[in-house]
Every structure is written in structure tokens, then in C-alpha cells.
Symmetry: C2
Subunit: 410 residues, 2 copies
């Protein structure tokens, strides 16, 4: 008998019919003798409906009350799913985040989980009940309702799995696993049977949208085996776990691609200490997230300073840098939002040189110009003109033989 945590997102519980289907899925797991904890999101569309009401009432509603409002979304789902389970003869019990004291800090809208009171859940499991938990929500130390922010239900599921030492945390979603790259771009993209936490983190950070990066971090930290699988079609999905030393690691596990990158360049900056801080301090004060940063070696005591940000923040960022440019005595700030970022990720990179060379050569053969480069131990990212993004992904997928299951030797 295993203890499983199963998480179903908003699309998976988006209608009464879908909730019934989830109940059948949960019943199958329970029927195999497993203890099951289910974590659910709000029915798709519900959170937006609630936020639209708030919008009508207040142009900038207090964050505390937003959390009171939107947390009702998951509460509706847990009740309906528990009813659906009862209807097919599965004993179930629902809990809000507050009821099982998912204790968080008090940052409304993006709270972080600090602890979970597992006793009540354990007691229900021991009585043979399925426990249905509202994802995305908790309470702070004063019992105020908090929410965890985007992808919060994944985090709730992983936290429950960690707190109860579950055998596996299964994230049911609308895709059937983690792919070598986006199958809409490369039809030959292959589902991975397994991938490491590190690789998944780098892929999520590089734009793969299968899992929220926080839940992967959390799972890695507490060593919770995480499986991504489809709630619409059966299959083994992809297991995310620690690197298995006994296995030969593929060089490259996946290719991620984001199309919403913008590049900001401050030209003619006096090349002296403190430049990066002056520029990036102003940007981060405005809560703009900076990704890649490049500063070339300058000449004549001047240099260019370039970084990438989400393209939606481009106008705001340029506006806020105008006074900084003047103050620094730099010549100008320019932006370019027609950028894509392509990232190769794989733990195999650690032990193999030459990946970058192969990547650059493949892109060069297609006439694709690389604008910026950044690397980590298991990732290489480049930015290129957005027009070439799909061609680049298809080229690299083929270059590194990702449609094959065997690993590549360069």
C-alpha cells in the first residue's frame, strides 16, 4: 500500500462532468489499495469570475480580502469532488487550507507554506477515507486566509506529500508528461519517462509551463518523487526524481523556448564600478524580473550594458531608466521586444564538453544569429530573433537526436 497525493488543476475539474471523471480516477487509485490525498484547484474560470467581481467593487482591492474571496473557488471544488466520490461509494472528506492548518507567512497573494498539521489527514486516511484538500490556500499565524499565488495548488500537493512522506505526488494536467520540447513546434518531440529535479527546474525557469518552478523546488528540497500525467488520457507520464547514478544520463533532456523576451540596452555607459547596481537596482525596485545580463568589455572607458526582461515590462522599464541614463552620463537606452530565448537542458552536460559548440554550429548553419548567451552547469540559453525561434528549436531537436531514446554522444 502506497500513500499517493494526486493534484488536479482547474481544467481537470472545470465542469461537473470533469469532476465526476476525476472521482473515477481517484477511485481507481483507492481501489488499488492506495491511500489517497487529492489536492484540487478552483474550477477553470471561477477565479477570474471572482476577481472580476472584486474589480467592480474596488480598483485596487485589499490583498487580504482578495484572498478571502478567491479561496472560495477551491472550497467549492473540494465539496463537489467529495460528493462525487461519495456518489460512487468512496468515503471522502474535504478540508480547506485553514482546516488542516496549512500555515503560511502573511504575504497575501503569494504566501509561502511554513508547516502543515498532518494529524487530521492521517487520521482520516487511517479510517479508509480519501482526503480532498483545497489547493492554493492556507492561513497565517493569526488565522487570516492566504493564497500561494500562481501554480499554488502544485505547491500545496508537494507540501502535503512532503508532510506525510508520500510515496509519490502526481500532478494531473492537460498534457501527458514532460516532453523534449513543445510538441506544437516539433511534432517528433518525445515524452520523457523521467527527468531530474535540476533539469525540470532549469526547463521551468526557461519557459516550459508544465509545472510551476516553486513546486519543483519544493519537491526537490524534500525529495518528493513527482509525476506529471494527463487527467484526460491514461499513461505513465513523466517521473521527476533525483539523478539515478546507475543510469546513463542523456546529454540533453529537453529544449525550452520562450517568445516573450525583451532586450534592454543602455549604450555608452561610463565603465566604472557600480554601473550594474545603478541600472538593475532601479529595474528590480519596479518589480521587473531580469533574466540574462551581459556587459561587454568596453573601449574608451565606455561600455554597453544589456539585459532581458519579460516583453510586457519593456515600456515601463525604458521609462524608468531614462532618468538613470541621464544621471549616469550614458548615451541612451534602447529596447527590442522581438526576441526568443532557446535553452538546452541536461544533466549530461556536466560531464561533456562541446555541447555549446555543437549548438552554435547548428544555429549558424541555418543562418540564425545569436544575440546573447548565458549558461549554467546543466543549461545553455541563447537569445535570437523571434522569427527564427521555431526553426532553432526544430534544428536543435534534430541535432541532438531528441526524438531517439538513446543518449547522444558528441
Amino acid at each position: 500500500m502506497s500513500l499517493l497525493v494526486e493534484k488536479y488543476g482547474g481544467t481537470s475539474v472545470g465542469s461537473v462532468e470533469r469532476i465526476r471523471a476525476v472521482a473515477e480516477n481517484v477511485a481507481a487509485s483507492a481501489g488499488q489499495g492506495h491511500q489517497v490525498i487529492v489536492v484540487v484547484s478552483a474550477m477553470s474560470g471561477e477565479t477570474n469570475r471572482l476577481l472580476a467581481l472584486a474589480d467592480e467593487v474596488h480598483k485596487d482591492p485589499p490583498a487580504r480580502e482578495i484572498d478571502v474571496l478567491v479561496s472560495t473557488g477551491e472550497q467549492v471544488t473540494i465539496a463537489l469532488l467529495s460528493m462525487a466520490l461519495d456518489d460512487i461509494g468512496v468515503k471522502a472528506r474535504s478540508y480547506t487550507g485553514g482546516q488542516i492548518r496549512i500555515l503560511t507567512d502573511d504575504i497575501h497573494g503569494r504566501a509561502r507554506i511554513q508547516s502543515i498539521d498532518a494529524a487530521k489527514v492521517k487520521s482520516d486516511l487511517d479510517k479508509g477515507r480519501v482526503v480532498v484538500i483545497a489547493g492554493f490556500q492556507g492561513v497565517d499565524s493569526l488565522n487570516n486566509i492566504t493564497t500561494l499565488g500562481r501554480g499554488g495548488s502544485d505547491t500545496t500537493a508537494v507540501a502535503m506529500a512532503a508532510a506525510l512522506n508520500a510515496d509519490e505526488c502526481r500532478i494531473y494536467t492537460d498534457v501527458d508528461g514532460v516532453y523534449t520540447t513543445d510538441p506544437r513546434i516539433v511534432p517528433e518531440a518525445r515524452r520523457l519517462d523521467r527527468i531530474t529535479f535540476e533539469e525540470m527546474l532549469e526547463l521551468s525557469g526557461a519557459g516550459a509551463k508544465v509545472l510551476q518552478i516553486r513546486s519543483v523546488e519544493f519537491a526537490g528540497k524534500y525529495n518528493v518523487p513527482l509525476r506529471v500525467l494527463s487527467s484526460f488520457k491514461p499513461g505513465p507520464g513523466t517521473l521527476i526524481t533525483y539523478e539515478d547514478k546507475s543510469m546513463e544520463q542523456p546529454l540533453i533532456s529537453g529544449i525550452a523556448c520562450t517568445l516573450d523576451e525583451a532586450k534592454v540596452t543602455v549604450r555608452g555607459v561610463p565603465d566604472r564600478p557600480g554601473i550594474a547596481y545603478s541600472i538593475l537596482g532601479a529595474v528590480s525596485d519596479a518589480h521587473v524580473i531580469v533574466d540574462m545580463i551581459v556587459q561587454n568589455i568596453g573601449s574608451d572607458g565606455m561600455t554597453d550594458f544589456t539585459f532581458t526582461i519579460p516583453s510586457t515590462d519593456l515600456q515601463k522599464c525604458i521609462a524608468l531608466l531614462d532618468p538613470v541614463v541621464e544621471q549616469l552620463g550614458a548615451s541612451e537606452v534602447v529596447g527590442d521586444s522581438d526576441l526568443a530565448k532557446i535553452s538546452l537542458v541536461g544533466v549530461g552536460m556536466r560531464s561533456h564538453a562541446g555541447i555549446a559548440t555543437t549548438m552554435f554550429e547548428a544555429l549558424s548553419e541555418k543562418g540564425i544569429n545569436i544575440q546573447m548567451i548565458s549558461t549554467s552547469e546543466i543549461k545553455i540559453s541563447v537569445t535570437i530573433d523571434k522569427e527564427y525561434a521555431e526553426l532553432a528549436v526544430r534544428t536543435l531537436h534534430k541535432t541532438f537526436d531528441l526524438e531517439e531514446t538513446t543518449s547522444v554522444v558528441v
Copy 2:
């Protein structure tokens, strides 16, 4: 500075515009220097929308999960109202029933309040905040969500007022007070400035729908001055309080009328002990609520046994009595659903004889036949043919001069 509890029902918070209007109303009370606790219901239609979802999932959903589901309705309202208050510069804080530990028994769907943790509410009031509380809901000793059943938000408001020793509990509704009778029947019906708890209880029990009977009982028990007033138009409403010995009491405060009464008669019952129990025991086992009961003196060892029930239960009641009739050796059971019950209520009755005589005489002059009579210390109820209900109410309203504000001497 007074401490006020203000309760707004589903119609009063039925839209974003209405919620804004309630916020203005609350702001006015707070602006007069009062401390204000607001208790709200779900937006009108919301509870039915949620129950319809449950219905789709399960034909007889577990009561515990129904409560988890429907309690989200008030939670949405408290968040939106708190936002609306914030929007007009009034500091406010919302709480679910669970957050301020409105402790109830564990009877889901019709739980009774046992205690309230007033400390958190007091602390907020002392900080100058308006406290917005979800009506209708609580938690049991195991922290399961419970609901109080019909009119539960009124009960929550009165319980909050009792727990915090409030100066007044104001029930905002869609009528502007308690009337001498239904103004739709008698256009001359007059709003009462004040009425006693006992009278209000009898009027509620006799069909006046202004307040749930449980909230009136609760207010009387804890001596919470209760005021009914309109959330749509300004005015003093009606104050429900204890009898003021210094005031001359009107003979009759009001006339209530119900049109959904049915009469069940078991004919030819052997006149021996245990008959009432045999018949009414079966009826109450089926959860049918019996109102008036009449057993005439029999002849030849046989008697007729008659009682009234809600007309919706008539068919069910006759069916379940068929075997009882056979078992008792009675001759038959017959029903009549074309009944109205007219009740005169007034604390002044206590000290004056002759009210009943005046009532019967007035009805007789109009040719209205009285079928059954029941009395309490401050109430006389009669059942008559439904056709004559409006005539009877108008006649009695005039007979007892209820359109005048002076009291009547018979």
C-alpha cells in the same frame, strides 16, 4: 458611542451595486461614531446556484459537504463588502464563521450556535475597524464547517449582538418594519414603532415572514434589542424589545395570516387513551409539523380527531395515516387544503377579556365560518375557508382599529 450589529440579507447584497449601497449605509453608522459589526448573507441566487451544482453531482449529497459548499456564498459577500468599505475609506476586516469560532453543534444544515469567540472581533473594533462577518455558518468542535439553516444569518447577527453585548441588532431587509398586518392585504396596515419579543414570536409563528422565529427567540433570551428596517429606504423601522411596563400596551399589535394550511381529520376514532399519540406520533416521525390540534368530545365511544399541517405535506400525511386508521379501527381519514389561519397577537390581551368574543362576532357578521380555534396567552388563532382570508384580515384590522396609533378598549 454605541455598538451596533447590522445584518443585511441576500437581496440587500444581491449585486455589486447593492453591496456598494450597503457599504454606504455601514459607513453612515460608523461615521456617527458607532462601532459596527456587519453580518451578511450570500448574494441572492448564489446559494441556489451552488445547490444546483451539488444536485448535478449527487442526488443526496452528504450534509457535511453541502455545508462546505454553500458556506462559500457568504464568504464571497464578506470579501466584497470589506473591499467596498475600503473603497470609501472605511477600515474593515472580514471573518468567516470558522475564523471567529462561531462554535455550533454538529447537525449539518441546521446547526445551533453554542458559543462565539468575541476576542478577535473586539480587538478589531477597538482598532476602529468595521468587522464583517459571514452569517449562516459556524464550525463544530472538530472544526467542520456547519450551517444554521433558513434565516441563519439573522441568528448569527443576534448571537454576535449577545456575545458582544451590543446596544442594538439591526436586521436590514426588504420591508421597512413590522406591520399590523400584511400591507398587500390591508393598505391601511400600519408600521409598528415597537413590539415585544413575545408578540413578535407569536406573529412569526403565525406566518409573519419578517424575521426567522429562531432569531427572535435568541434575541429575547439574551435581551438583545432587535430592530427591523429597510435596506432600501430610510426610516426608524420597528424595535423589538421587552415589554415596557411604563407604556400602555395596545390590545392587539398585529394580525398574521397564512394560506398554506391543511386540515386532517381522522373520523370515528374509538375514544380511549393513547389515540393522540398513535396518530400524531406517526405524523411527527415523518417530520411533518403539526400546528393546531382539536379533539371534540365524542359520543357512543367514538370521536373525531383533527389537526392542521402545512398543505404541502397533506398527501404524504394522509398516505401514512391510512394504516394507522385501520390499526385503530377508525372509520376514515380526510384532508382539506383550502384553509387559512388568521391570528390576532397582542400582549394587551393578557389583561383584557372579550377579545375573542369581539373577533368571533366580527367574523360572524361577515358570514365567515370558524372551523378551529386555538389560543395562547397573547394570541388567538382561527382557521377559516381560504376564500375568506383577505376579508377576515381586513375586517379584523378595522374592528380593532389597527390603522390608528391609539390603543383600543373593548
